[in-house]
């Protein structure tokens, strides 16, 4: 079963075509990477999947719900994390999680917060204001917020941006384990090719709003005859390489 099904999706801002007629799906339990340079349409696509942005045309179905007509039913079963969207800085970690626990109608909210705090090593930080945390700690809190409702679908926009390698690795390991345990599907937008190669089952390569290639990381490496995904990305971004049949 597909948790995301996107059909003929277009987003136009005046003369600018931000997303140009894309189709893709994310199967249940899969991790799909959304790759592309700045302005390729990744954030626009994620915003449309979240209902923050209305498509110019096309259809989006998330967890069986049409996002144009029934987005709140889908939103209750999914969640989102991005380093570019903050949580209130003056509220403590526990207070922030409590707010979102209420917004997502989470049962037994204190037990859920305690469990997430334990899993994400946040117990000692629960009473600290969110604004006083390091970048790594903020990422873990943002993940806790994104998991508060036990989502069936997680949208992650550059989840390890600005993290040191050790913390970035910790987050990636944690995401792998979480997906293995829960079967949660993940749509991941990232500029970190090693991360995409490690986490994703399938990669969508976006350029100027269009999906210009896609496949598993291994498939893309084989087709572009490259050793790492970064070179594949550069080949596509600069239009210098060519895919060959694997």
């Amino acid at each position: 079963m597909d948790v995301i099904r996107v059909t003929n999706l277009v987003k136009r801002y005046g003369d600018v075509l931000a997303v140009d007629n894309i189709d893709f799906s994310v199967p249940s339990g899969a991790t799909v990477g959304l790759l592309g340079g700045n302005g390729a349409g990744k954030t626009t696509t994620i915003a449309m999947l979240l209902g923050l942005l209305v498509p110019t045309s096309g259809a989006i179905e998330v967890l069986g719900h049409d996002m144009a007509r029934d987005r709140f039913a889908a939103l209750a079963r999914m969640n989102f994390s991005s380093p570019y969207v903050s949580l209130p800085q003056r509220l403590s970690v526990a207070e922030n999680l409590r707010v979102y626990g209420h917004l997502y109608n989470v049962p037994e909210i204190e037990a859920r917060i305690a469990r997430l705090a334990e899993e994400l090593d946040l117990t000692a930080l629960l009473d600290r204001p969110a604004g006083q945390l390091s970048a790594g700690q903020k990422t873990r809190v943002a993940l806790a917020k994104a998991l508060i409702n036990k989502p069936e679908l997680l949208l992650l926009d550059e989840p390890t941006a600005s993290l040191d390698p050790d913390t970035g690795d910790w987050v990636r390991t944690w995401l792998e384990r979480y997906r293995g345990e829960t079967g949660c599907a993940i749509l991941l937008a990232s500029h970190n090719m090693a991360e995409v190669e490690r986490l994703c089952d399938h990669v969508l390569m976006l350029k100027q709003g269009r999906i210009v290639d896609q496949g598993s990381p291994a498939d893309l490496l084989a087709r572009y005859r490259r050793d790492d995904l970064e070179d594949v990305f550069l080949d596509i971004a600069r239009g210098r390489g060519q895919s060959v049949p694997a």
Binding site: L52, L53, L75, P88, Q89, R98, V99, Y100, H102
Partner: protein, 266 residues
């Protein structure tokens, strides 16, 4: 708890804990109403001492006007600033992708407005009673309707401000503080509507606040209850609120089309 009520409470809880941890925010709520009460209260006392009983009655109307106008002002600011707090903390992205419906967000903002207005205005009402022996409750049970009408007016003005922020972003932010000061001269807060130029009177009478203050002066100066003004205030509030809800719905949808919800606050 009903899921809808729980989501409304979730957003209220976010603001309540913010106030609990920030005494300057709490102080600010009561600062201006108390300051206004001191300035206009002493002015009214001075006039009463120099000019006798007519001035004393006028002074009472002045103090009543100040207190009731603060109800509108604090209700409007309570709602607009609660929305701005979300914008300033760059948290709107998370709020708008949660299952919180726009009407639930408005309900939470209205509830916060009632709380903020109460915390702000009650100290000024007590001060008026202690310093100037002005008992606002002397207006009688109609006071409840005066309060209700002025709060509703504050809410629809705030909805208009939030709509403009959704349309124009941070550039519209100053309206949250200034917009009602622009309506004050037309609201007949301190003087009867009859002193305004005839053309301006039409504008004035289209505002619910004008009818509330005319009603307040009728009780204080003539001892009569003007139900016609109260009914008119309710009808106008219903019309303006309907317009504000339409404007908000339209601007929210337009913001979703333009992508403004992604960059609001910039």
């Amino acid at each position: 708890m009903n899921p809808s009520l729980r989501r409304i409470w979730g957003l209220m809880y976010r603001h309540l804990v913010l106030y609990r941890s920030s005494w300057p925010r709490l102080l600010e709520l009561a600062y201006w109403p108390v300051l206004q009460m001191c300035i206009w209260g002493f002015t009214a006392t001075f006039l009463a001492q120099r000019m006798g009983s007519v001035a004393a009655l006028t002074g009472a109307a002045l103090i009543g006007g100040v207190l009731l106008w603060e109800v509108t002002l604090r209700s409007q600011m309570g709602m607009s600033i609660s929305f701005l707090e979300e914008m300033w903390s760059r948290n709107l992205g998370h709020v708008f992708v949660s299952p919180l419906r726009p009407w639930e967000m408005i309900a939470a903002l209205i509830a916060m407005s009632v709380i903020r207005m109460t915390v702000g205005v009650v100290p000024a009402i007590v001060l008026a009673w202690v310093l100037y022996e002005h008992n606002l409750l002397a207006l009688g049970p109609q006071l409840v309707l005066f309060f209700a009408n002025l709060m509703i007016m504050g809410w629809w003005v705030a909805l208009g401000v939030v709509s403009l922020i959704l349309r124009h972003g941070a550039g519209a932010e100053p309206l949250a503080w200034g917009v009602l000061f622009g309506l004050a001269p037309f609201s007949a807060v301190f003087y009867p509507v009859s002193v305004l130029p005839v053309v301006v009177q039409y504008v004035s009478l289209a505002l619910p606040s004008t009818h509330v203050f005319e009603g307040m002066r009728a009780i204080l100066l003539d001892g009569t209850v003007r139900w016609d003004h109260l009914v008119m205030a309710l009808v106008l509030n219903a019309m303006w609120m309907g317009g504000a809800i339409w404007l908000f719905s339209r601007q929210f949808q337009q913001a979703r089309i333009r992508g403004a919800l992604l960059s609001i606050g910039e």
